[in-house]
């Protein structure tokens, strides 16, 4: 599990244990870094033993864990009514080869936040983003903040721009790789051109929180981040309270905007000694009332159509999952390394994309 700073998860688990005196669910808190938690699960699974019964599972882990045979197939357990209510993309992202392995709990997507007190019309294209950034940036305020550290976040940022130019990364079905297409080069050139002009030179070392803190402090016009930022900018002590708008990531003229789908759900370990209790718990915690409770306490957005706050609907409509391939972690690393190399001027964008495409093809095969 993620760390439970506010005690919200313990509350929910306590309620479940009260309802089911014969079952005992115990929460194991991991560190905030998601890849450290991924590795904790991997270690337990690799030893072929039931270290954990229920997995609080990120979207990008599903193909890997499912392909490794570590998760129980939940397709037949999920009632049809629930299947109707969960967001389609989140169900799809919880599936691998047509079988459901992860019940969605919370959805997430990349968002472009902007200062609506400065930018009158909501921005639509990359040119808008540049134009408004140039116009409203000054000594104490940058134009556009994003996450450029060499890590998973860089890929999600780049994907939104790439999709906004009409490009793509990998087709999970046909295994086709599109990274050496012209759209990809345009996308990388755009991202690169922001560094040192409308984005601070240090943007290539930022992850989510570094960029959010700057934006929330009033030091940028635009911020690309996730849904959690929305509630935080609206807090009483936030210097930008009431001055923030949100749209999906902008796009090139004539193309559509896309957001990278994130989100969390619950899966069950194949090595569990007690699948029935585990399922009862997953069913309980993904119930609308529990999700709503967690939403109110933690600001996470429930992955149920009936519970999505209206302001997020346009973003979630634009959301698209990352390719569901078992080798995802490796493919993402290839892209991260070459993007980061191009952004830090170690190689040219053309070379970076060519090499990334070549290595990715070697990895996923034709």
């Amino acid at each position: 599990m993620e760390p439970d700073g506010s005690g919200t998860w313990s509350d929910v688990i306590q309620r479940f244990n009260d309802l089911h005196p014969d079952a005992r669910i115990r929460m194991v808190e991991g560190p905030p870094a998601t890849n450290t938690r991924e590795d904790m699960y991997s270690t337990a699974f690799l030893s072929q033993s039931g270290g954990y019964d229920v997995v609080f599972c990120d979207v990008v882990w599903v193909p890997k864990f499912a392909a490794a045979g570590w998760l129980l197939d939940l397709s037949d357990r999920l009632p049809a009514a629930d299947r109707q209510d969960f967001l389609d993309e989140d169900l799809k992202a919880g599936s691998y080869r047509g079988r459901l392995y992860r019940v969605p709990a919370f959805t997430d997507a990349g968002v472009l936040y902007y200062r609506k007190d400065l930018v009158a019309d909501s921005p639509a294209t990359f040119d808008d983003l540049k134009k408004f950034s140039e116009r409203f940036k000054d000594e104490k305020r940058w134009g556009f903040l994003w996450q450029g550290k060499q890590y998973e976040g860089l890929v999600t940022n780049f994907l939104e721009v790439l999709w906004g130019y009409g490009g793509d990364w990998i087709d999970a079905e046909t295994k086709e790789v599109f990274l050496d297409r012209p759209e990809a080069l345009l996308a990388l050139q755009f991202v690169k051109s922001t560094i040192g002009t409308i984005s601070p030179p240090g943007v290539t070392t930022y992850s989510e929180e570094e960029s959010r803190n700057l934006f929330q402090d009033g030091r940028a016009v635009f911020l690309r981040n996730w849904l959690y930022v929305w509630a935080l900018t609206a807090r009483e002590d936030s210097p930008v309270k009431g001055r923030v708008g949100l749209v999906p990531m902008v796009h090139a003229p004539g193309k559509t905007n896309r957001a990278t789908l994130g989100g969390w759900g619950f899966a069950i370990s194949r090595f569990t000694s007690n699948p029935e209790t585990a399922w009862k718990f997953v069913e309980f915690i993904t119930r609308p009332d529990q999700l709503q409770y967690i939403h109110e306490r933690l600001g996470r957005v429930p992955a149920r159509k009936s519970l999505v706050p209206p302001e997020f609907e346009p973003i979630l409509r634009a959301a698209r999952p990352r390719p569901a391939i078992p080798e995802y972690a490796q493919a993402s690393d290839i892209l991260q390394r070459w993007l980061s190399a191009a952004l830090s001027d170690r190689v040219s964008p053309e070379f970076a994309l060519r090499e990334a495409a070549r290595e990715t093809r070697l990895l996923v095969g034709p």
Binding site: E2, P3, G5, E29, G30, P31, P32
Partner: protein, 271 residues
Amino acid sequence: MRYFARFFVVILSVIAVAPLVWHGISSVKPAAEVTRIPVTLVPAHPTLSNYAELFGRRAFFSYCLNSAVIAALASIICLACSSLASYRLARVTAQVRSLISSALLVVAFFPPIVFLLPLYEIIRAVRLVNHPWGLIIPYAALNLPMATLLLTGYFQQIPEELEEAAAMDGLTPFQTYSRIILPLAAPALVTTGILVFIFSWNEFMFALTFMNLESTKTVTVGIATLSGAFAEQVPWGLLAAGVVASSVPLIVFVLFLQRRIVAGLTAGARN
């Protein structure tokens, strides 16, 4: 020359503690101030809320206690095993010694990450997950090569005549070792012990994997699993408070131990 040496030591001591002092400053800032620009070198609104969280909502004392027990036992076991081995090692022929040392070194070359998975399997098999011994034994073993080589160097410099004299007084080899050699080697034992203790106190990856109950967590894992109000937040102030609160007892402990050595040495010199 002497003044230059003092100056050099003072400068490096300042550099050594400066980051910790900075973490101390950050730990008493309210969350909003940690990310303020420009950076405030003196907290504008000092608060102890981070420490309140640490000691109030979190079982920080129990984390420290777990770590202290684990680190102490690991150091003692490591010292016991390695001092026995290195005492013999110091008294064998050079060829045998270099053979054994090389073998030890080769094992030490493996980066700790490769031990993680096989050890986890073993620990699970012998049912030591969430049990202090599940960490004590690996920590003692991981430090054994270093401790053995360090102590061998020390024992070699103890003249063999001492042992011959002891044998003439009718002491068995083990009595010689425990009553004569060990006290002579006390400074090296303490130095090695401190290194092993600190290593065990600070180890993270094994502790994270082998201990996951709130009541068995070590201090490093305890700090690393701290979080802010929401999952994405990196709780800088809380982390800084955790680092300060965990290292202060450690530093006091080391200081105390050092005092004891100095006292012991001067006592030894007088006899």
